[in-house]
Symmetry: none
Amino acid sequence: MKVAVIGCGTIANAAHIPSYMNNPEAEIKYFCDIIPERAQAAVEKYGCGTAVVDYHDVLADPEVEAVSVCTPNNVHPTISIDALRAGKNVLCEKPAARTYKEALEMQKVQHETGKVLNIGVVNRFNDSVNLIKKYIDDGKLGDIYHVHASFRAHRSIPGLGGAFTTKAIAGGGALIDWGVHYLDIVMYCCGDPKVKTVTGEAFCELGKDMKGYAYTDMWAGPPKYDGTYDVDDSVVGMIRTEGPVISLHGAWAQNIGENECYIDFMGDKGGIRLQYGKDFTVYSSEYGALTEYKPVFKMRDHFQNEIDAFIDCIKTGKKLPSHIDTVIITAQMMQAIYDSSEQHKEITLG
Amino acid sequence: MKVAVIGCGTIANAAHIPSYMNNPEAEIKYFCDIIPERAQAAVEKYGCGTAVVDYHDVLADPEVEAVSVCTPNNVHPTISIDALRAGKNVLCEKPAARTYKEALEMQKVQHETGKVLNIGVVNRFNDSVNLIKKYIDDGKLGDIYHVHASFRAHRSIPGLGGAFTTKAIAGGGALIDWGVHYLDIVMYCCGDPKVKTVTGEAFCELGKDMKGYAYTDMWAGPPKYDGTYDVDDSVVGMIRTEGPVISLHGAWAQNIGENECYIDFMGDKGGIRLQYGKDFTVYSSEYGALTEYKPVFKMRDHFQNEIDAFIDCIKTGKKLPSHIDTVIITAQMMQAIYDSSEQHKEITLG
Amino acid sequence: MKVAVIGCGTIANAAHIPSYMNNPEAEIKYFCDIIPERAQAAVEKYGCGTAVVDYHDVLADPEVEAVSVCTPNNVHPTISIDALRAGKNVLCEKPAARTYKEALEMQKVQHETGKVLNIGVVNRFNDSVNLIKKYIDDGKLGDIYHVHASFRAHRSIPGLGGAFTTKAIAGGGALIDWGVHYLDIVMYCCGDPKVKTVTGEAFCELGKDMKGYAYTDMWAGPPKYDGTYDVDDSVVGMIRTEGPVISLHGAWAQNIGENECYIDFMGDKGGIRLQYGKDFTVYSSEYGALTEYKPVFKMRDHFQNEIDAFIDCIKTGKKLPSHIDTVIITAQMMQAIYDSSEQHKEITLG
Amino acid sequence: MKVAVIGCGTIANAAHIPSYMNNPEAEIKYFCDIIPERAQAAVEKYGCGTAVVDYHDVLADPEVEAVSVCTPNNVHPTISIDALRAGKNVLCEKPAARTYKEALEMQKVQHETGKVLNIGVVNRFNDSVNLIKKYIDDGKLGDIYHVHASFRAHRSIPGLGGAFTTKAIAGGGALIDWGVHYLDIVMYCCGDPKVKTVTGEAFCELGKDMKGYAYTDMWAGPPKYDGTYDVDDSVVGMIRTEGPVISLHGAWAQNIGENECYIDFMGDKGGIRLQYGKDFTVYSSEYGALTEYKPVFKMRDHFQNEIDAFIDCIKTGKKLPSHIDTVIITAQMMQAIYDSSEQHKEITLG
């Protein structure tokens, strides 16, 4: 199956491209990037494909069956929609879009075209997350009444003044960039429950005085002090669903100590703390004694799992848990948090 | 100054009585308890005063100028109001009452009588807390935009089935018993800002099946399996004020690991984590470098500070930060959290 | 209930006497010891009872309902039998006797008299052991096919040359003194299965050259170099039962490193390692992941549990798991190990 | 000297072939494997020899003086016997055969032909093992009265459902695959004492429900769920010899914690714990003080030692400690353990 990668930046090189290379059925025909050098570098590094600058050239090739969209958030909708309309199957990186409205538009075109539109919520292909889902589905934790998601960092604002911190490009900051993964894991493990109320506050505090932001390292850096910083560097919120109550507290930067990045699933029979990106601990009791343990299992690469499932679903027609129809709910939740923050009051959904 | 202690249980013996004994101006004239043996035991242990069973006997003595109310929550209002009307100055243990309405009634009588009515929000006399207040008031942390209060325990339900877990007596569980201190510290340090919106959910989950509750130790125990358990064992909430946004997450019992009991004050120039009941850490930056340190200072006994200030204010007429007029706001916030939890929606105040 | 303690040495003072003192229904009327000073010291230390030298004086008092036999092993049978025949209920320390034949005699008299005869297999009253029994009975470990008992010490020969190391007094060494507890735990947790074959070898090696035995500390010491050393300082064996195969390897002294004192219960679904006298670890799997944890629970004093159960069973007539009828099987197993060792071949039972 | 390697799998590539390559006198003329690609791959990798599929072609070449037999266990006897009869000297991997009877047949042909037949009991060429043998032979440990061999793993079943776990091919499981090395070391260090009684039980428990076997890694994997699993995954036994008593407890998989792989030599003057494949610790005493230390020495590659000795003995006629005449005893012991396990009773030998 011929595939193309549109956008050859960090996530493409770290995840999509190597996973396609390892998949026995996929063959990368195009590396596309608006920076010609990046596309060409990929061709040379991976020893296959053609470098192109304009993604329309990729879409015009009838041999290409699938594309990965790995661009900044602001062009996710346009490229994905154009690809779907050109008859391509699409794996678009997260978040689906900057706003709920844009995401709905993408979903609409998916429904019209019938082609695959999956979003890169890669944790749905993570073995640790899927094992937690089994614990919950099987009732080992009893009724999950509350989930708390913490994604708090001390100093991790990415590319101060660049695409990540410019709302017109990224759509948001810590919530849309990191929170999307945490909310997605919560929703997935809890069976994608319907959302009822959302309240939240997003803060733009530590990066607003760009020159005064002290740090030691910066990913996606270095800072562009003549750029824009108008996104949330921290966020807090509370969401009622038909399942558990969800609370969240995250930050790219906060005046705290160590990073605190975990999700706590609290059930009446047991609980799980997932250390984000790592293993998890089960807290429970049996025969009147308290128990605490970390299950040991083989962790495969979740990006590989994701790409393999994408290729497979194109052939089989199987609907994946990363389908836009599922992911749209997280887009709605994040939109509601931003809306609630602007209006300083709770938002009631459906 | 002749004083009386009404209710001779744990908090009276651990805090009020020894502090009165240490105060050079106070003399305990009565130990009052509905259990005669407890009052008598206090007389013998401390070598002073008279044991009485009916608090009206205390109030009838014109020599008594001040009383401490150390009873279960449900009789705080009646005894405090009777005492005020009998012309006594009152230090009533926290929480003021089971409900906001009861607390308002207490405040009304304070206003009518003009006698002192302080509530036992002892952290307002804690040296650690007062030092944090100085950091904030002095602007060292910049603008405090968010405070997060965490009072989460693994297994600490007190006296399962007893007074603590019976709503008709205690008015609530983890929130009213532990949360009251955390919210009070936040309000005090942030200048008692006006509250705008409150949303929260209180959960009654881990103790509801009393026989199935596994634990190793129990304070205020042992369990009474034929008793009542209808209070919150955990709670989550978010509060918007004219100052910072406040988020809270607390539990007497939750399926998590270690206890996590702290308050994070997040400012745009610095932050503080107070380890509840212990010391605190300051996170900030200077000259482009990040700093983190624990101030070292002398911690006096906060109960002694509280009693000394109470005796002093009776003489001087000085209004303390523990006056019912201040504490009433926390009572309103807790009421709003419980109301929000029942209605599953945000409450707008003022 | 009036009770008497016969033999006022280490185990009496460490376990029996304090537990009777704590039991609200028991009252120690006699402390009996052939060394008059030891009996008198107990009277003075515990502030109750009368000191006697001849146990017949105790048995002659019709008020005494129960006796603890805490003497060296060689007089367990005579005193216990005399006490039963005098109408007393008996708790005799472990091992029941030096030989299986003696133990059978004790059982016979218990059957004739109908009075209680329990043996001090105190682990049957240990909370850790009972919790393991629940795991096994409930099927959490699946089928237990093999149990390995390790009670290996580097240097722990007690009272070299004294009662412990003299076969005519003690009946044996490491096996009868330590192994009895391990075998008893195994039998108890596995439902006291019928024994089929026993093979074993008992070694008298490290203490045989008494002067050449290097050590740093010695319990029940100091050494009597003119005494006797003719018991096993280590033992190995294998037992087939109608339940699991049991292997054992123990030593008072061996040229190994750290002490290795544990019991491994191996089931096809899970396993448990009990660290003797401490907590235990559960090894299992769920949802394809491997798990390992130490249950946390409240450990009560097992000697207190034992004495409380003894007093209680006299009143209620309830048969305890420490009844001679159960313990007799362990006596038979130990006898068979010693017999197998002498004959250097496997013994087939029943 | 022209040699041939029959069977070009794991052990051939890891041990035999590189050692022949390093031996200045040996030259590999044939790589033989029933999978032609494996033989050809060896030719290419090592740059010498000819690839053949049928081992008879090797035996037909009069230039070949020696062969290594590195095939699965089931064809060890046939190929070794054919080779001996063809006048070749043979180094056959361990175990000699699946059964004692097959091993006896091999020994018989060795005696008839007079050619060398050594078995791959490589530990007899291990420097650590030989140093222990020196300690024992020299009397430093006194009389060795008991040796305990522990080869217990948590999760190490190889190639579930494949050749290793199929009795018709391998002859057995953990005992024949791992235990053979441990028993061989014990016998070698203790002077190959005559065996008197053998009792044992072999368990087929953790792999029997193949789908339910949880693990993280698998050597010689992946699992073949449509294959066979009918071998011992754990074993326990006790052996009386004219020298020490030997106890053994081993497992490819058991519900325990860490792997416990060691041999304890217990003497009346000292003891040694050999950490299998690693170093060893000596426990002893001198001048009344206890000592514990790990001798430090140069460890050479034991496979190289083995091959060098094999080549040398062909020239010199020297009989090695790995001669079938010695190794036959271990084959007899393992057979007796399996027999004892089937009959559930002790076996008396010779």
